[in-house]
Amino acid sequence: MSTIFDNKVENAWCPGCGNFGIQNAMKRAFSELNLEPRNVVLVSGIGQAAKAPHYVNTNVFNGLHGRAVPVAFAIKTVNPALTVIAESGDGCMYGEGGNHLLHNIRRNPDITVMVHNNQVYGLTKGQSSPTSEEGFVTKTQPSGNISRPFNPLSFAISQDASFVARAFSGDIDGLVRLLKEAIRWKGFSLIDILQPCVSFNKVNTYAWYRKRIEYLDEAHDPENRLQAFERSLEWGERILLGIFYRKKRPVYQERVKENLGVEDLLYRGFESENILQGELPRFR
């Protein structure tokens, strides 16, 4: 299916990489939400995942390893009319940039954070990542990773993040559905996407995930934080997908208005094209 989000940028991922599923799902989700390329900003860090924005026809900020979230936060703050999505790998978001994740969950800006979680550092050719499992053997962990894997969902739920979901890049329909929910959600949404890395993760493969994934059932109440937390702890024989938790909280923009009585932050000055027209000649 072709969409207005297609472009012709040459792709540098390995054939079979789970990132292709994510890329296709993004384009479909954006189209089905009737977003326009000019109003979408994809902000990424550095890594294989972080290349994704180049392959989607939107505005792009591809910047520094670990720093996608604060950049996305500030873009949204300056222009709340934009749909702002931060997107990167597990190393970028949970390792180098882990601190930014924590503090933006607290701030609750209306942005979406997509993590392509392949449980490995792909771009630097296969070292353990914060989500690598114990015992995972790599070139820098030759006798196996000895640290416990980071659990992004439990972490986000424990911090009362506004929206927390998990998806699988091998199920594009499910991913499109969850992405649309995450983007539509007003508040900080974290979507952790299980993404097989066919070159450097020979353990967590498509088949490995397929054998384990199962969508949360009807009985799960995403408004129930304790239940969500409990479900998020499950990882092993069964890996759950879907919306674990969501809770409406005032977003950053609204809190600023409330506290400072400021209407709309910096954006106010740029809102009207007339203002711009009036100012422009001064700078000529």
């Binding site: 550095i46 910047g63 390893h65 390792g95 180098e96 550092y121 070292q127 820098t140 030759p142």
Partner: protein
């Protein structure tokens, strides 16, 4: 002694182990990840610890802790990762903690690219973090020198209780050359006086990186300055190569130093007499020899893989006595013998009219 063929990154790692370093904290980044890979295999054999940290910032403060505990410790990185360590380096200098830092540098600014570059010269020699401090900076030009300077780096770090940086580039890190491991028994330097190890029989130890009273902080800075002055007196290293009566002096370090040797030989074939000064320590900088050689030649050409950084120190060294020309490539581009020869001819033929820069 046996010569073995080895990649630059692996060679630094092996030399570090032989120098008695059995603690390494790092974070992957191209083009130096092989240092981590090598040590992750090698250090457990020595009873040491290899650790891949959550970030470069985590890694540099693990270095801080291990150094405070008196162990020989190393970290390595490149470009953006090395920038992240700068805060820690300032603290290490202030707390006078010895350690070895390896920067296999790449093209910048920003993410830049992973090609070889000398764009981090200023960061290395001028104190890349905040405050008034210096790091000893060693600039190898071959895999053999990477090894020899790694041994030296650990010794100098202990001797001065100061971080020592090995500034290489992607080309040195990635290339393979025959190398001999000749560990020159540098004297052991006792750390008994200051190290935090916990001992029943003595008072508690405190390692600080601040002094809130300005009089005290100035005292600390003056004490550091004395150390730097001693380094400048005792640790300057360089290589002089080429003609005794040069028409032009070439100056370049690291990878460029190698290229300039080829230029000297090529020029000789064409009847042009060139000499080369290749600084091996970038801090302390070989000022005296540069001034002497530059005066002898009457003019100097500095070549770098950046748009003009060390050239400033060369100008400071010659104190305006002779004109100093510059040729630089950046962004991971490597200057060729041909283009440097072209520049040499231009300077020698057109004399004072030669452009200040090639850009």
């Amino acid at each position: 002694m046996q010569k073995i063929l080895m990649k630059g990154n692996d060679a630094v790692a092996e030399a570090a182990v032989q120098a008695g370093c059995n603690l390494y904290f790092g974070y992957p980044i191209t083009p130096q990840t092989e240092i981590s890979e090598y040590l992750s295999r090698r250090l457990p054999d020595t009873g040491g610890v290899f650790l891949q940290a959550e970030s470069e910032i985590g890694a540099i403060y693990m270095v801080y802790g291990a150094a405070a505990a008196g162990k020989r410790v190393m970290t390595s990185s490149s470009g953006p990762g090395f920038s992240l360590k700068q805060e820690g380096i300032s603290y290490l200098c202030s707390a006078e903690l010895p350690c070895v830092l390896v920067n296999i540098s790449r093209g910048g600014p920003g993410l830049g690219n992973i090609q070889p570059s000398q764009a981090d010269y200023f960061q290395a020699v001028k104190g890349g973090g905040h405050g008034d401090y210096r790091v000893l900076v060693l600039a190898p030009c071959s895999v053999q020198e990477l090894v020899d300077l790694t041994y030296l780096a650990f010794y100098l770090a202990d001797k001065y209780r100061n971080p020592v940086e090995i500034l290489g580039d992607g080309m040195l890190g990635q290339m393979m050359e025959p190398v001999v491991f000749r560990n020159p028994d540098y004297p052991d330097i006792s750390k008994e006086e200051w190290v935090i190890t916990g001992k029943k029989t003595r008072e508690r130890r405190i390692i600080l990186c601040f002094a809130l009273d300005p009089k005290e902080l100035e005292k600390l800075n003056l004490h550091l300055a004395e150390k730097y002055a001693e380094m400048e007196r005792s640790e300057v290293l360089y290589e002089v190569y080429g003609s005794e009566q040069p028409e032009l002096l070439l100056v370049g370090y690291g990878t460029v130093g190698r290229i300039l040797k080829s230029v000297v030989r090529e020029a000789e074939k064409q009847g042009i007499r060139l000499a080369l000064v290749r600084p091996v320590t970038l801090y302390p900088f070989p000022k005296e020899i540069l001034r002497g050689q530059a005066r002898k030649a009457g003019k100097a050409l500095v070549v770098e893989m950046n748009l003009g950084q060390m050239v400033e120190d060369v100008k400071l060294s010659v104190e305006g006595d002779v004109p100093v020309y510059f040729h630089g490539r950046s962004g991971g581009m490597i200057p060729t013998v041909e283009e440097i020869m072209h520049r040499v001819e231009e300077i020698l033929l057109k004399g004072g009219e030669a452009r200040e820069n090639n850009l």
